[in-house]
């Protein structure tokens, strides 16, 4: 092994760093630019790391093979990190400050961040090739990269960048926005809310259910099985917490969007999410706690009857694992719902919603965006619920009407404009 190998790798590393740096040289600051700022800082750290290793090589006595090999390994370790930065820039740099998504959607995202994430977030709105909503909080991944470069990780300044993945085709279906709220809930859950839930749930009862169901397995117990049950349970609790956050913030709109958007249930082993029937039941129970039942039952009678039937027609558990997951989740529900209600910035209230909707729907049904109701700017979630109500009445007042409403582009655009106008009015008055 000769120093020539190290100098070749140094040359490759430097060229790749320059390549990534040049691709972000022209970007303009905007929403999501904290990712680019951090990558720029990491590139400087990488440049320093390469220079440090190069200086070390120069200072080392020649023909010390073991040291040369160690230095080469240090260099080679940096190349995958540069590759990850390349991927992040290639994938997300065009999303920084993007201006091809409607202002109503931009305002909605900002509002969801304010409502669910007290420490804030710098959103990158990304159009995904998947027809799904999801979020990816980048801070843990960025910190890990930083730790791989330097002894002490470079802190990620707040607000942390979070990728909001929206469907690549039709990203502006506002009636699906409660699904986005659920997804942002994952960031809230991972930052602090899961810890709150765990501190409040009945640990002893959950442990008992765990042991009793494990005993039903009839196979030798392994750490792998225990970890698998534990991880799946944590996942189910988090999913249920995200459902709860979305119900508290958006009211019945989450139930409607979930009914239309929910993926097909897993027929075999328990999947990453609870059974959809259990999720619907939980949503109905929580809506009832929040006094929404009379509203849903009177305005959407067919839908209410349908979801009631779904929620009561629950399939039995097919395995000891599923049995534990469902029992444990049931035990954890009071803690989940309590944490959700305590941690939503501006929950949608059922009181006076009928009066608000009557006035708003008079205008919306004529295609006129609403700005204020009773002298107050209409809220984003009041507007979204109005959208569901209008779609329901225009498209036939049946269960199928929900699906038709979701794909009514004009209806979605009208509600987005309502949200835009109301937020503009609020900002103007407040400034």
């Amino acid at each position: 092994m000769e120093n020539r190998d190290s100098s070749f790798v140094i040359h490759i590393a430097r060229s790749r760093i320059v390549q990534v740096r040049e691709s972000i040289a022209e970007y303009k600051p905007g929403r999501g630019s904290s990712l680019i700022d951090y990558i720029s800082a990491l590139l400087s750290d990488l440049e320093q790391a390469v220079s440090d290793i190069e200086a070390d090589i120069t200072a080392t006595a020649p023909s010390n093979r073991l040291i040369e090999e160690a230095q080469l390994r240090q260099l080679l370790r940096l190349l995958p990190i540069i590759a990850v930065l390349h991927r992040l820039v290639a994938k997300y740099s065009r999303d920084v400050g993007r201006s091809d998504l409607s202002v109503g959607l931009q305002y909605l995202v900002a509002e969801v961040v304010t409502d669910l994430l007290p420490d804030g977030a710098d959103p990158l709105l990304h159009l995904s090739s998947h027809n799904m909503y999801s979020t990816w909080a980048l801070e843990p991944a960025l910190k890990k990269l930083s730790l791989a470069v330097a002894r002490a990780p470079r802190p990620v300044p707040k607000p942390h960048p979070v990728v909001f993945n929206l469907p690549g085709i039709n990203p502006e279906i506002i009636l699906y926005s409660p699904i986005l709220v659920h997804e942002v809930g994952h960031t809230a859950a991972q930052r602090s809310l899961m810890t709150s839930v765990i501190s409040q749930w009945p640990q002893a009862e959950i442990d008992n259910s765990f042991r009793e169901n494990l005993a039903q397995l009839g196979t030798p117990l392994t750490q792998e099985i225990v970890d698998d049950w534990d991880d799946t349970f944590a996942g189910w609790v988090e999913e249920t917490l995200c459902d709860a956050l979305a119900v508290v913030l958006t009211g019945p709109s989450f139930l409607f969007s979930m009914c239309v958007f929910l993926p097909a249930p897993s027929m075999n082993e328990p999947g990453s999410h609870p059974q959809e029937r259990d999720r619907v039941k939980h949503c109905l129970d929580l809506l009832d706690q929040l006094n929404w039942t009379p509203f849903v039952e009177s305005r959407f009678p067919e839908v209410f009857a349908w979801v009631k039937e779904i929620s009561t027609n629950v399939m039995p558990s097919k395995s000891p694992k599923e049995s534990f997951l469902r029992e444990g989740l049931k035990l954890a529900l009071p803690a989940i719902d309590s944490v959700a209600q305590a941690n939503v910035g501006a929950p949608l209230k059922a009181t006076s919603i009928d009066e608000i909707m009557i006035e708003a729907l008079d205008l919306l049904s004529e295609g006129i965006p609403v700005v204020e109701v009773n002298g107050e700017p209409i809220t984003t979630w009041q507007a979204t619920l109005c959208g569901w109500s209008l779609g329901w009445s225009v498209h036939g007042e049946s269960v199928d009407a929900l699906s038709t409403a979701v794909h009514d582009a004009s209806l979605n655009r009208l509600i987005l404009k309502t949200i835009e106008y109301a937020r503009i009015k609020e900002m103007w008055v407040a400034s």
Binding site: E366, I368, S410, L411, R413
Partner: protein, 201 residues
């Protein structure tokens, strides 16, 4: 509020500052948040009467959305479509006329539009924005750029200008709709071929 009551109302919304916007004879209108620009493509001619079959001749407009507090730079000679921030709904017996505000004209900004707003019109108003000056202009959504004058007709029109269906009123700038006049193009082509043995394309 009944449907009739809505139809009979003059609506200009959102009205951010009524004291400043509503004058003795006009209502000031603000610049909206959505812009259409037609980017230059490698084609010989833009033919607004191109049909769907010839859509490759029609450059796809780029839409840009700028929130309040943001800005859009209009370069010398550049033409874009914007719209009013305000959504307008005129009763069937009211006609409107939109004019640009002189303060912007003096900076070289032409804010032209289809001047007459028909009775019963609903929607935001598309604004044709051209920078005729020599320096780039930074435009900001929310700036008062146009004025709406209103006249009361002697009687309501029997055919108010209306959208084809529910909530189809324009909520952002509309690009040209000349292709909708396809029947007239067919006539012109037919006439041309009879007179000269030629077709227009």
């Amino acid at each position: 509020m009944s449907r009739d009551a809505v139809v009979q109302r003059l609506i200009v919304t959102p009205m951010l500052d009524p004291k400043r916007q509503i004058g003795p004879g006009t209502i000031d209108l603000r610049l909206g948040t959505e812009f259409i620009e037609t980017s230059r493509k490698n084609i010989v001619v833009v033919d607004p009467l191109a049909t769907d079959e010839d859509s490759s001749l029609r450059p796809e407009p780029d839409r840009t959305y700028v929130p309040l507090g943001g800005s859009y730079v209009l370069h010398p000679g550049q033409f874009i479509l914007g719209s009013t921030l305000e959504f307008i709904s005129l009763p069937p017996d009211v006609v409107g006329q939109v004019l640009s505000r002189s303060s912007w004209g003096r900076l070289g900004l032409l804010v032209a539009t289809a001047v007459v707003v028909q009775p019963g019109y609903r929607g935001v108003l598309t604004l044709e924005l051209v920078n005729t000056g020599d320096v780039p202009l930074r435009l900001a959504p929310g700036l008062r750029v146009a004025q709406l004058q209103l006249w009361l007709a002697d009687s309501p029109t029997s055919e108010p200008y209306g959208a084809a269906g529910k909530y189809h009123a324009p909520l952002g700038p509309q690009s040209d709709r000349l292709a909708w006049e396809w029947d007239e193009l067919s006539k012109l082509r037919s006439i041309a071929s009879r007179l000269h043995g030629q077709t227009l394309t």
